[in-house]
């Protein structure tokens, strides 16, 4: 994985000093809150219901064990012993004190971490497929290009005061695990000419108030032109994105207003003008330099099936259940990708305690070439584990409560912090996730239901990705009472779709019944191993409307 050189270190150190200075100026009254707010947001510091909230960047969701231990240290030393992994592969701390933030950032900088640009109207964390470099069938490792974009977008002099936040996601695989089609820019690595990587570049996707699927704006853009093309999109957006209305300021609104074709024309026009006094062509040497950081680890040559692993599966039912859902195929024989579930039944989705983080750091170091990843679905991944080690890894995960065998099943929900934490929320979301999780706790039942992605947001800002849930739940405020509106048929992968609202919202005491009814309706209608989303695509929304509302 990427390691800072002296230049990266200098940049982060100087910026930490800058922010410390800004905090001092704020506390001394030289900056008003109005002036300080955009500056603290650019360093990931929010003001929430109970306290400040600090969002630390985890570039493309990749961490070393040392970095994970530092995240544990921050949780333990400056916060209340836990952190929350987010839908942008970052981590959030809910209780930092403003006066401690410069120290937190200084500590993070010692392991090449920071909170730069995790908020504010700038280019945010570039996210990527969590199976990068491990899954078979990948055209190229998306983290290489994510790292290149990260550097280029950090403290960009022209693009630090955009109309609104800007989110980029990258995948190198035909099966999109990074939800690229609902990002401001989504990048799919494809095979270019001469077998070199090239990029299909999508723009104008997003969720929130006006969810939209991104449009293809540039096809097979050559590798060396990546920054140049992204620069063209950014300049069109910076100059023409709306500045008059906060709710209409994302690039998706601009793309929609112009029409995808006209927007693409303007981008290509700008691209053709060849930059502005700069040469954005990526030198082969720099691509190679960054690529080297993501070289495959020193895999052993192993048989495709490890006998110890096979034996453990047969001997230990609980282990077998876990292996059934929480493992993904690795491209190298004898290895596996391990998903660490942060969705314990009845627990808080995406939260991890400092001791869990430390234990996971140890696992990463001992069993996964010192690497752990964060997924946008709020789980973690150990990307390269030998099959022969899986039983031991599982036992250790089980000992810390991170081995719930539910990846991709109904209890593996995305849940935003909601009204329990968030200043923007209209309703609680965590508790809804908990009661649904508890209702469907029976493992056999969960397996019978199969793949079903429930995504819960506590407000229209959609940090819980409800628009792209197979079942999406949106918390709303109806005359002071928390209500929950359900949508069906959303999807975040390469067949991305925005869910359809099924009908009037439900109160908290009815929401579990509603989910049960939806599940039962699916089970009654499904054919031939259809997943929920397959059945929904075949039957449409009507049968679900009927069962949910006809009796009313």
């Amino acid at each position: 994985m990427y390691r800072y050189d002296e230049f990266d270190r200098t940049i982060v150190t100087e910026r930490v000093a800058e922010f410390s200075g800004q905090v001092q100026r704020r506390l001394a009254g030289e900056l008003t809150e109005d002036e300080f707010k955009p500056l603290r947001l650019m360093n990931g510091l929010y003001l929430q219901l109970h306290a400040y909230m600090l969002r630390v960047a985890i570039p493309y969701g990749t961490l070393s064990s040392a970095q994970m231990r530092m995240l544990a240290h921050v949780a333990r030393t400056y916060d209340k012993g836990y952190g929350h992994f987010t839908t942008r592969q970052n981590i959030q701390y809910n209780w930092p004190k403003l006066k401690d933030v410069p120290d937190i950032l200084a500590d993070l900088a010692t392991v090449e971490m920071h909170a730069i640009q995790t908020s504010g109207n700038c280019i945010r964390n570039v996210t990527a497929d969590q199976y990068a470099g491990a899954a078979a069938g990948e055209v190229d490792d998306p983290r290489i290009w994510s790292e290149i974009l990260r550097q280029w977008s950090t403290f960009h002099p022209e693009y630090s005061f955009l109309p609104r936040k800007f989110k980029i996601a990258v995948t190198g695989h035909a099966h999109d695990r990074a939800a690229i089609k609902v990002h401001d820019i989504g990048i799919v690595i494809v095979e270019g000419d001469n077998g070199a990587p090239a990029f299909d570049i999508y723009a104008g996707g997003g969720q929130g108030r006006t969810p939209m699927i991104a449009h293809l704006v540039g096809a097979k853009i050559a590798a060396q032109d990546l920054l140049h093309f992204i620069d063209a999109i950014m300049r069109v957006y910076n100059m023409h994105g709306r500045r008059d209305n906060l709710y209409k300021a994302r690039i998706k609104i601009l793309v929609h207003a112009l029409g995808a074709e006209e927007f693409a024309r303007q981008v290509h026009d700008e691209f053709a003008k060849g930059g502005a006094g700069d040469d954005l062509e990526l030198p082969e040497g720099e691509i190679a330099r960054i690529r080297a950081y993501f070289a495959p680890p020193a895999y052993e040559t192993l048989a495709a099936d490890d006998p110890a692993y096979t034996r453990a599966l047969a001997d230990d039912k609980a282990f077998a259940y876990w292996a059934r859902t929480n493992l993904a195929a690795h491209k190298v024989p004898g290895y596996a990708i391990v998903n660490i579930s942060l969705k314990p039944i009845g627990g808080i989705a995406g939260d991890a305690s400092d001791s869990q983080m430390d234990a996971i750091a140890d696992l990463a170091q001992s069993f996964s070439f010192d690497e752990v990843r964060v997924t946008h679905e709020q789980n973690l991944v150990l990307p390269h584990v030998r099959q022969t080690d899986l039983y031991e890894v599982w036992k250790q995960l089980d000992a810390i409560g991170c081995a719930t065998p539910n990846i991709g099943l109904i209890s593996d929900m995305i849940v935003c912090p909601g009204l329990d934490y968030c200043d923007l929320a209209n309703a609680r979301s965590i508790s809804i996730g908990q009661i649904i999780s508890e209702r469907f706790a029976d493992l056999d039942k969960e397996h019978d239901i199969g793949e079903l992605k429930i995504k819960i947001s506590g407000c229209i800002n959609a940090c819980g990705h409800h628009h792209v849930g197979h079942i999406g739940i949106l918390g709303v405020d109806k005359k002071g009472v928390e209500n929950y509106q359900i949508s069906l048929g959303g999807a975040a992968d390469e067949n991305a779709a925005i869910g359809d609202i099924v009908g009037p919202a439900f109160t908290e005491d009815k929401i579990v019944w509603a989910i049960e009814t939806i599940v039962d309706t699916y089970l009654a209608l499904r054919k031939d191993g259809e997943r929920f989303i397959d059945t929904y695509r075949r039957t449409g929304i009507e049968p679900f409307k009927e069962t949910l509302y006809a009796a009313a």
Partner: protein, 105 residues
């Protein structure tokens, strides 16, 4: 920031976050800031609400608090009771972690 004030509501209290550590605080009758909702002054009507707002503005300028705002309350034996779920949660702590926030002390 969500809107917390119902124009028809009669009683309001005023809250903010402490600048240094983000702790929710409430403006008291003696114009001090308390961590406890129990101590919050109750404004009866728009004019009294405006008075609280003015005092809060001075505290902002004095760098004690940030983001002050009025919120609707009912009066219960002389004490303010928040009407919105949001302010109830803010006064106690996250409902899903009863060991954290004000409710824990």
């Amino acid at each position: 920031m969500a809107q917390h004030i119902n124009k028809k509501a009669r009683f309001h209290s005023l809250t903010a976050n402490r600048l240094l550590d983000g702790e929710p605080v409430y403006l008291t009758r003696s114009h001090a800031w308390s961590e406890n909702l129990h101590d919050a002054a109750i404004a009866d009507g728009k004019d009294e609400g405006a008075e609280l707002t003015q005092i809060a503005a001075q505290s902002v300028a004095d760098r004690l608090v940030v983001n002050p705002y009025l919120f609707d309350v009912d009066v219960d034996a002389g004490r303010p009771r928040p009407i919105s779920v949001r302010e109830q949660i803010r006064a106690t702590g996250p409902t899903v972690r009863r060991d954290l926030g004000k409710q824990a002390s």
